[in-house]
């Protein structure tokens, strides 16, 4: 896991093995398996390496297939599905030990103008400096997440205004902690990386469980990201998470990313596997 921006950037800087074939490095981690956001971000970088820079990523859809091994690099195999005039589509298979661990399809668009609107930035969100830092006072366990700062705004179980219509909600402020280079792809990949964090908390809020507890097993089943417009991932963005439904061991979490000046710059959708520890066997 990246302890600082430099380590995050080196994770995103893939080695080229051949045309459409890349290798992503690992870093020391206390995690038993590779963090999903890292695989998604590296796969996005691999796809971008095969795409004309005039095309900008606008969405990705992915499934997590197997736990990634933190002790071995990951190979990213890119297939060109479409190279059209307005859109380019790539599929990326992430492999370790000869087996696929992750599959992503991602779409790039030549920028164009069109209709524009957005949801309003939510009311009554305290500024990042007025929010709780969940990493403060915790030791080695969280130091390996040093490249990312987070501030807890609240969930439907505690600090958020009550909304009985929507029992599963959570908000965080997030940013990459340090200066990233200006390349928009780096910011998109960093957003993809961080966007896999904290989501299950929104789904657990109605059930009296918290992220990171010993009594709960969590895995990301899939991850989808829409990059509405480029933004700086190294400035605070509000991650507004909403879990409309949990059933059958699965929960859906729809989330929106707003910059501090109120722009809706990204959306994500993830289905998470939630098991009480005693039920856990995959």
């Amino acid at each position: 896991m990246p302890r600082d921006v430099g380590e995050l950037l080196s994770l995103l800087d893939l080695e080229t093995i051949d045309d459409n074939l890349f290798r992503g490095a690992q870093q020391d981690s206390v995690l038993p398996r590779v963090f999903g956001g890292q695989v998604a971000a590296q796969a996005l970088v691999a796809a971008s390496r095969t795409t004309d820079p005039a095309y900008v990523v606008h969405s990705l859809h992915s499934y997590f297939l197997q736990p990634g091994d933190t002790g071995a690099p990951i190979v990213y195999d890119v297939e060109e599905l479409r190279s059209g005039r307005s859109f380019a589509t790539r599929r990326v298979l992430a492999r370790q030990h000869g087996r696929p661990i992750f599959v992503m399809t991602t779409d790039f668009q030549k920028p164009e103008d069109g209709l524009e609107h957005q949801d309003a930035f939510p009311d009554d969100v305290p500024a990042p400096e007025d929010c709780f830092d969940p990493q403060a006072g915790r030791g080695e366990e969280l130091s390996e997440w040093g490249a990312i700062s987070m501030r807890y705004v609240g969930s439907s179980a505690d600090l958020l205004p009550e909304d009985p219509q929507r029992p599963g909600r959570q908000r965080f402020w997030l940013r990459i902690d340090g200066e990233l280079p200006d390349d928009p792809l780096v910011h998109a990949a960093a957003f993809a990386y961080a966007s896999d964090m904290t989501l299950a908390g929104a789904a657990l809020a109605p059930h009296g469980y918290r992220l990171g507890g010993p009594d709960i097993m969590i895995a990301s089943l899939d991850h989808a990201v829409w990059f509405h417009e480029p933004f700086r991932a190294d400035r605070w963005w509000l991650y507004d998470q909403h879990a409309p439904r949990a059933t059958g061991g699965r929960a859906l979490i729809n989330s929106r990313a707003f910059t501090e000046d109120g722009r809706l710059v990204g959306s994500t959708a993830q289905e998470a596997l939630l098991r009480r520890a005693r039920e856990s066997s995959r």
């Binding site: 005039a54 190279s83 400035r235 000046d261």
Partner: protein, 250 residues
């Protein structure tokens, strides 16, 4: 515009429903390889939902019954040709104990027109919660979409009603008419304020919407196929029109 009164719900058109079921009943060509038929459409390309449904059926054919589909993700790549069948090629990405994953390529004329990845889960118990259902009018009080299009002067309304006879669509409202603000999808059709932002390098060169015919700046050898007509229609000023346009254009 004169707004019509809601009409009584139609009797289901069993012939149309049978035709839909037939569309979903794929022919097996080989293991993990299927063929789906097409129906006549005056719209020039295959409706995206049909390709998605047939591709899903192809995936389902390759998984044991005790696994149920719980999600799919897909991209539309090229317009589908309604005059010939569509071939669905299934790849088994994962066969796990709790989860199975399938990827389906839809092909016509030797080219992929659509890709779908779907996940299947062995049934299990777990946490359960959900959002409350919004407070809405029942179907019988909603306007029939085809009639609404007709009132709005869409000359294709009748033909569309025949082609879509298997579906009943009742208009509940949109954020301009009929829906209450709910903080999520309410009347927040705001263009965001033009606040100064620190620009990123290579930020959004402007391309006119109408200029899709021009082709420039592409790296040599990148384009192997023709460009896609993009799935989905132009946005309209309100949702009924948008739904209708999507139905017409997809």
């Amino acid at each position: 515009m004169k707004v019509p009164e809601p009409t009584p719900l139609r009797e289901p058109d069993q012939g149309a429903v049978d035709e839909l079921v037939e569309l979903l009943d794929l022919e097996t060509i080989d293991q993990d390889l299927y063929r789906g038929s097409n129906v006549y459409t005056p719209r020039g390309r295959v409706f995206g939902g049909q390709v998605a449904a047939q591709a899903l059926c192809a995936g389902i054919r390759t998984v044991p019954e005790e696994f149920g589909v719980h999600s799919l993700h897909s991209y539309f790549l090229l317009p589908g040709d309604p005059s010939i069948p569509i071939v669905y090629d299934v790849e088994r990405i994962r066969d796990g104990r709790s989860f199975l994953t399938r990827r389906v390529a839809a092909r016509q004329h030797g080219r992929a027109i659509y890709f779908l990845t779907a996940n299947f889960q062995r049934e299990e118990e777990g946490f359960s919660h959900q959002d409350a259902m919004p407070d809405v009018i029942p179907p019988a009080e909603g306007l029939d979409l085809v009639e609404l299009m007709s009132v709005r002067g869409n000359s294709d309304a009748e033909a569309l009603g025949r082609e879509w006879a298997a579906l009943a669509v009742r208009w509940v409202g949109n954020s301009k008419h009929g829906l209450e603000p709910d903080g999520l999808a309410g009347p927040h059709h705001l263009v965001p304020p033009p606040l100064p932002r620190r620009p990123l390098v290579a930020l959004r060169p402007v391309v006119a919407v109408g200029a899709v015919g021009s082709r420039s700046g592409d790296r040599a050898g990148l384009h192997r196929g023709r460009d896609a007509g993009r799935h989905g229609g132009p946005g309209g000023p309100d949702q009924a029109t948008r739904i209708a346009q999507q139905a017409c254009n997809s």
